[in-house]
């Protein structure tokens, strides 16, 4: 599944990295602890989090994640969006809480 298909299926808003939506998704990880994400998220994963500060971009960049979804209508800081654009990180937002986002994504990734 490509990031752009995820954006359409979950009605997500693209906040940065619009040029990188053709990338394939390898899985997903849900956590708000950055060290936990560093330790357990894998390359090409989508990361679902409530964190909105610029450090989520560094984590996504170091792990080469496919996208970050900021959930529950949380608004990423301006510096986060700027940094994500600089680093070429796909930053998405959802009105749904993490549980709902993860549940929908799980179903999409595991069907068939």
């Amino acid at each position: 599944m490509k990031v752009k298909e995820l954006v359409a299926a979950l009605d997500l808003t693209v906040r940065s990295g619009a040029a990188k939506l053709e990338r394939d998704i390898t899985g997903a990880y849900v956590s708000d602890l950055l060290s936990d994400v560093m330790s357990n998220a894998r390359e090409g994963n989508v990361w679902i989090t409530l964190q909105i500060h610029p450090n989520i971009v560094a984590v996504a960049s170091l792990l080469n994640l496919a996208a970050v979804i900021v959930s529950r209508g949380a608004e990423p800081e301006e510096a986060t969006i700027t940094k994500a654009e600089e680093e070429g990180i796909v930053l998405l937002t959802s009105r749904e809480p993490s549980f709902e986002v993860a549940g929908q994504l799980y179903r999409l990734l595991h069907k068939g």
Partner: protein, 155 residues
């Protein structure tokens, strides 16, 4: 924050990088590790090795930003290994045994609310490293040395 990258390639194919890391500067946090990662990608290191270096360097860099006044993150890259030194002027670690336990943290609340200080930094570094050494003096600072060899190793 001065984040000077000075790649110096010598005849032994050795690249040395050095970054100043400022305590409390969360805005630039991770930049040193990202630069190191880009360097390794540029010279074609295997992805699994780059991941281990990225995780170890990031945790070492964040430890300086979270806990210390200032510090330096240095890396030496050869075809055989990546060596990282993180040296800071800071509070030091009172009980290394506790600090190595997953979940133990001395980070203040406002830092934990940002998702840092989960007590996983040093354990994450150790897990990624082939050699991990730590020297700390309370009230003076902490020095860490990490070596990751360029060979396939399951994480």
């Amino acid at each position: 924050m001065k984040n000077g990258t000075n790649p110096e390639a010598d005849r032994d194919q050795k690249i040395c990088l050095s970054f100043n890391v400022e305590g409390g500067n969360f805005l630039s946090a991770g930049e040193a590790s990202i630069r190191l990662k880009h360097t390794l990608q540029h010279i074609g290191y295997p992805a699994s090795l780059i991941r281990r270096v990225a995780v170890a360097a990031y945790e070492a860099e964040m430890n300086i930003i979270i806990h210390a006044d200032s510090g330096v993150l240095k890396a030496e890259v050869t075809p055989e290994a990546v060596t990282i030194w993180a040296e800071d002027k800071g509070p030091g670690i009172e009980d290394i045994g506790l600090a190595m336990q997953e979940g133990y943290s001395t980070a203040p609340n406002y830092i934990r609310e940002m998702g840092f200080g989960a007590g996983m930094g040093l354990p994450n570094i150790k897990r990624c490293a082939d050699i991990f050494e730590i020297e700390t003096h309370v009230g003076i600072g902490t020095k860490i040395r990490i070596v990751i060899f360029n060979k396939q190793k399951t994480n």
